[in-house]
């Protein structure tokens, strides 16, 4: 048993990045860093349902888009502080998660994945035809020039997203180490046996979907202010769904650090590629990495590390 609790590390890293954001003057890094942090939230949130319980959710974009358009609705009504929009986005997204869960969680495997994919498309179509939020024309959000205490608005958004990423990681970690996480792992391994052990499988799955969806919604809420012009195609982009599956898969799905590693790796590569080559390459990069990891390291980077450690232990013990 280690003496220092391991939750301290994410907190320290977040504080370090916060300090860094005060020193770095170039706003581009905030701009790019925001995307990386946003994917840490999405990947960690996805992993709570997809990684721990094995239910693959293809509809991350649905929850993300709900958060983004929730913020748009509030912005049109009374322009509340960003934090209110985030909480609102989280609540609405987790309620949608609740309904989706009850409707779809009795489906298994690929059928569940298709149902969630459909959710994203249905919601996109709905928003497309909803004139109040701009419909297909999209919505321009006017953001304040700056917020007191922050060098710039982008810096403010960056810090907000940093906070969300920390929350997502800590929530994922807490779930993983609790009885809920153990129950979800049992569902992943053998749902029938889990039921026989007294694991309340449906209740746990609904809970995981709500937490996962809620966090994704929270990640979506600052998005309209980040890009300033939001349209249904960018809010419900398939890229969110694919990235938030690929990142945990590449990083490793059974440990909370896995999605973080995957998100940092993949999002940084994508950001670099966007600047140096073209953003058109991004999905191809995901595809290539995904295929190589599935064939070479099915348990992700965390899995590779574990295997190495076990081998070394075996060598030491013999």
């Amino acid at each position: 048993m280690r003496r220092i609790p391991s939750w301290i590390w994410p907190v320290l890293v977040a504080l370090f990045i916060l300090a860094l954001s005060r020193v770095v003057k170039n706003e581009y890094y905030m701009f790019a860093g925001y995307v990386v942090l946003q994917y840490i939230v999405l990947a960690s949130a996805w992993n709570i349902l997809g990684g721990y319980s094995g239910y693959v959710n293809f509809g991350s974009a649905a929850f993300f888009g709900i958060g983004a358009y929730g913020a748009v609705v509030l912005d049109k009504l009374w322009q509340p502080p960003l934090v209110v929009a985030i909480v609102f986005g989280g609540i609405v997204a987790s309620l949608v998660g609740l309904v989706t869960a009850y409707l779809t969680l009795r489906l298994r495997g690929v059928f569940f994945a298709i149902a969630t994919l459909a959710l994203a498309i249905v919601l996109q179509t709905l928003v497309m035809n909803w004139d109040f939020v701009g419909g297909p024309l999209g919505y321009y959000s006017v953001r304040p020039d700056s917020i007191a205490g922050f060098p710039s608005y982008v810096n403010y958004l960056f810090v907000i997203m940093l906070g969300l990423a920390l929350i997502a990681v800590l929530v994922a970690r807490a779930i993983e180490l609790s009885f809920i996480g153990r129950g979800l792992a049992a569902i992943r391994d053998n749902e029938l046996a889990a039921e026989c052990c007294g694991v309340p499988t449906l209740r746990l799955k609904v809970f995981a979907t709500m937490v996962s969806g809620g966090l994704m919604g929270m990640a979506g809420a600052p998005f309209p202010y980040y890009i300033t012009y939001l349209d249904p195609n960018s809010a419900f982009s398939l890229a969110y769904g694919i990235n938030s599956i690929a990142m945990p898969l590449i990083g490793g799905m059974t440990h909370w650090i896995g999605p973080v590693i995957g998100a940092v790796l993949l999002a940084v590569i994508q950001q670099v590629a966007t600047v140096t080559i073209s953003s058109e390459l991004n999905l191809m990069i995901v595809g290539v990495l995904l295929i190589s990891f599935i064939t070479l390291a099915p348990n992700g980077i965390v899995g590779l590390f574990e295997r190495y450690r076990q081998k070394r232990q075996r060598r030491l013990s013999t």
């Binding site: 153990r182 792992a185 049992a186 992943r188 053998n190 046996a193 889990a194 026989c196 694991v199």
Partner: protein, 247 residues
């Protein structure tokens, strides 16, 4: 501290199919009772009636825990487990991709069992030292016998008063069968557990039992009070052991 099960004239079945026909049995406090019979004679149905998963059409089952009597047909399975009756299912039903320790902890998932989880875990490791050695290993990578031990240990995580084991020897090498059944015998001795064991392995099972019920076509065909009594019975020898047996 009486923990027993009494079954009186039990009839049960599935839809139109009648499986049990007037079965009466008694598993007294601290006893180990074997339920013997080949496939399809109703062993598992009796167990399901005790666990509240099948409702009898006639007759009744009474579970007595610490002097209180309960009727499982009126209870949910989870409440019967909370009472202290646990079933180690046939085919083990482990979580192959979780570690030994995670499997054990899942055995005490219900709230009532969770309160004593550290003590239960310690007790399981003390009873099955091999499992302590392998606590970090994935349960699916262990041998069949070790997996059966783990299934038993997982059952013990709820700190049961009555243990029901369905076919513990299925798919095990003969040497492991002896080992597993000996362990069940030890549990009963050290824990004063009341044990009901459905088993096909006649020779091993009857050695640790006070009594064996031999079931044929949903009826108790013979009750034997010892290994000898059972193995010398004409009917048992004919149906179960095959005609020519050593003297």
């Amino acid at each position: 501290m009486a923990n027993s099960i009494t079954i009186e004239n039990l009839n049960a079945g599935y839809g139109a199919v009648r499986v049990l026909n007037g079965v009466s049995m008694r598993i007294g406090s601290g006893e180990t009772v074997a339920l013997l019979g080949t496939n399809g004679n109703g062993k598992s149905t009796i167990i399901k009636c005790i666990m509240g998963a099948v409702t009898p059409t006639a007759g009744r089952v009474t579970i007595e825990i610490d002097g209180h009597q309960y009727d499982p047909s009126a209870m949910k399975t989870k409440d019967i487990v909370n009472l202290g009756v646990v079933l180690v299912p046939e085919g083990r039903r482990l979580f192959p991709k979780l570690t030994v320790e995670e499997n054990l902890l899942l055995g005490a998932y219900r709230r009532t069992a969770r309160r004593t989880i550290t003590r239960s875990l310690e007790y399981c490791y003390a009873t099955f030292p091999r499992l302590r050695e392998r606590r970090r290993q994935l349960s699916g990578s262990m041998s069949g016998g070790e997996q059966q031990m783990l299934a038993l240990a997982r059952g013990l995580m709820t700190a049961p008063k009555i243990l029901i084991v369905d076919e513990p020897s299925v798919g095990l090498a003969p040497i492991m069968v002896r080992e597993v059944i000996r362990k069940i015998g030890e549990l009963k001795k050290e824990q004063q557990l009341t044990v009901l064991m459905a088993e096909q392995n006649f020779n091993q099972a009857t050695k640790i039992c006070e009594r064996g019920y031999f079931i044929v076509h949903g009826q108790i065909a013979f009750v034997g009070n010892s290994h000898e009594e059972l193995s010398n019975n004409e009917l048992v020898r004919k149906i179960y052991l095959g005609a020519p047996v050593k003297n």
